[in-house]
Assembly symmetry: C2
Homo-oligomer: 367 residues x 2
DNA sequence: TTTGTCTAATTGTATAGACAAATATACAAA
DNA sequence: TTTGTATATTTGTCTATACAATTAGACAAA
């Protein structure tokens, strides 16, 4: 029996549910005609008005289509005016760093499957991320790509949870989050930092300075790579050559730190900058102080920002596959949207050193 | 009489229309209770089932809300479970030029009203824009900010029309479109070009070269400003100093053109570049050819890209209020979404000259 | 070939009436 | 004060019935 007259569930709703089941199970396939209202009335024992109420709801939901004189038909997933999912992307600031590249990669991949991308700037603030999250939920996004904010992991996890509670899959991009139960697409910041500093070491630099912010786990990993590379070479870095801050990047603060560091010259022969914008500040400060790059000091950056090549010295830097990170994040979130419930995936993309002109071999005789 | 029994228009539909009119005219205000189904039955002479059909439709559309025992209520625009509108933004490429700044301005303004922004990259291709347009329509965006593609105006107009047919308001950003019937937020490219070249003229430069692409109306307007400023000074520019292309910007092509132009030195003393990326190519080429900026040649750009200031020569350039353009575009499209049906608005933001170090006064004696 | 007409099938619109379920409100009881 | 209970009101669900509108397809006419 399809309909239980004694159930507290309204009979039109029972019928509606039954019809959906038939469609989901493929009994009524897309394009099929379902029984006429008269027939359904006979099958279920309900009045035609009740049948209509059930069918109307499914029509409203986009699962069925009525055609006068012909009957009522099952719509295929494509015909369903049920829109394709929206995907939200939460990034710090579309204007800065790798964000444009990441967003573009994600958008291109989304477009390939005719998905659309909602852009949210968090400014690395958990509170802004939370507001955007509410909005994304309201818009019923199918999934989210989330670059964790600079806030403590716990706050980022909370944002993650708001999505999780609603069954919205989230893929973390770029920065991992401790204890986060979700997919992650990132780059090998530890390996990258090690590669960069190994390069310096291989050219004879042992007194290597580093300058970066410890606010972000990605930069902390690069710092760890820095230590690892020096340790391999049997070098213990002197503390005064490790310049860190736990504030977000600011040109002014960074310039001050760069100047302070450069005053110690010639106490070191190379600088590893946590990212390119820091590197360019170091470059500008060195220029100003009459220190030549790479003759006096070698400099390695991180990110490989696309800068017009009229800079005074083309920067040797670690190139991150940011565009690809956007693509992979989107691919992964789309897999989840399509119902993939497999193990959490951790995808680590490898960065590579791009040698330009800001690094020189250390002249023998100096150390 | 509310209902015309002889009309071919179904009576439930007549009632539905009437109810909407009452709401729109403020007879039933948001939060008000409309007459009970019984009362409406009395007023219209229709059966309760018919009343329900009309009311149900309005409930489905999000205009009314039923509460058991209390009645049926008019929802305010905000309560409407109808999500807050999405706004689409169609820009060439989020990675390049002013796009990030524009997108950020738009997104910030959207966030203030809790709107969300769907990002679409057109790569200046009409076909991509059209695909994105379909997607945006599918997602029922409330409005669109559209930076016209580099394709002929007619093709852009066609995209505009697809939105218009569905009552989706469009605001053009940055580039105007001939005969386009919609709002426009742009900057004064003609004035900007004139200001830049006037600046050169005021420092004694009369033999001024220009290099830009005529593919975009914005750059064409800057070229017109270039001519205007020279005309004011009674100077007729020599044709070989006007270097144009009608291809989109490419580093390679631009570098070739810059080199070709610079070979004519000292046939001119200043260059006006159509935008900063061109300017930086000129700067690099000059560097390479041993021509000093600004000692030998003065250089003015356009856009004021936020470049780390380790470039060899800080660029004097026209700063465009791009962020503000994003904000204003969003404000305007939101006004339209909220039902503003006033005259088409044309908002022109003014750019300003930012003097840095790439322009020098022409030494007297030379011309 | 094209055009018009008829027919039967199916959804669309509409009525009249009945009982169910939820709930604001008032009032009673603890 | 809090808690329970009754009541009236309104929407929610459902039946049974009738006729209208639309249209695929068959068939006829031009």
């Amino acid at each position: 029996m399809i309909i239980d007259k004694n159930s507290p569930v309204p009979q039109y709703f029972q019928l509606q549910t039954w019809l959906m089941e038939q469609i989901d199970q493929g009994v009524f396939k897309p394009g099929d005609r379902i029984p006429t209202e008269e027939e359904l009335s006979g099958i279920t024992g309900l009045a035609r008005a009740t049948i209509r109420q059930a069918v109307q709801n499914l029509v409203n939901m986009g699962h069925l289509e009525r055609k006068r004189r012909l009957g009522t038909f099952v719509l295929s997933r494509e015909q369903t005016r049920d829109q394709r999912p929206l995907i939200g992307i939460l990034i710090p600031d579309i204007r800065s760093g790798y964000a444009p590249e990441l967003a573009r990669g994600a958008q291109d991949e989304a477009a390939r499957s005719q998905y659309s991308l909602i852009l949210c700037n968090t400014d690395d603030l958990a509170i802004k991320a939370a507001h955007h999250a509410d909005r994304l939920i309201e818009h019923r996004v199918g999934g989210v790509i989330f670059v964790p904010t600079a806030a403590p992991d716990q706050q980022n996890i909370r944002i993650l949870e708001t999505f999780r509670q609603r069954g919205i899959p989230v893929v973390l991009a770029d920065r991992p989050l401790a204890d986060a139960e979700c997919d992650l697409v990132t780059t090998d910041n530890f390996e990258g930092g090690r590669t960069a500093v190994r390069h310096l070491v291989s050219l004879g630099h042992t007194r290597v300075a580093v300058i970066l912010s410890t606010l972000y786990s990605s930069e902390r990993a690069r710092l760890a790579g820095f230590h690892a590379a020096l340790a391999e070479a049997g070098v213990t870095p002197s503390p005064e050559l490790i310049v860190t801050t736990d504030d977000p990047f600011s040109e002014k603060k960074c310039e001050q730190q760069a100047r302070a560091l450069l005053k110690r010259y010639p106490g070191f022969s190379a600088v590893f900058a946590g990212h390119d914008r820091i590197a360019y500040q170091v470059m500008a400060a060195a220029d100003d102080m009459g220190i030549r790059i790479p003759a006096d000091i070698s400099l390695v950056g991180y990110d490989d920002l696309n800068i017009p090549h009229s800079v005074s010295v083309p920067l040797t830097t670690m190139h991150q596959p940011i565009y690809e990170m956007g693509v992979e994040s989107m691919k992964q979130v789309m897999r989840r949207v399509h119902g993939d419930t497999g193990e959490w995936v951790e995808r680590v993309l490898t960065s590579r050193l791009v040698e330009r002109s800001s690094v020189a071999e250390l002249r023998p005789g100096r150390r």
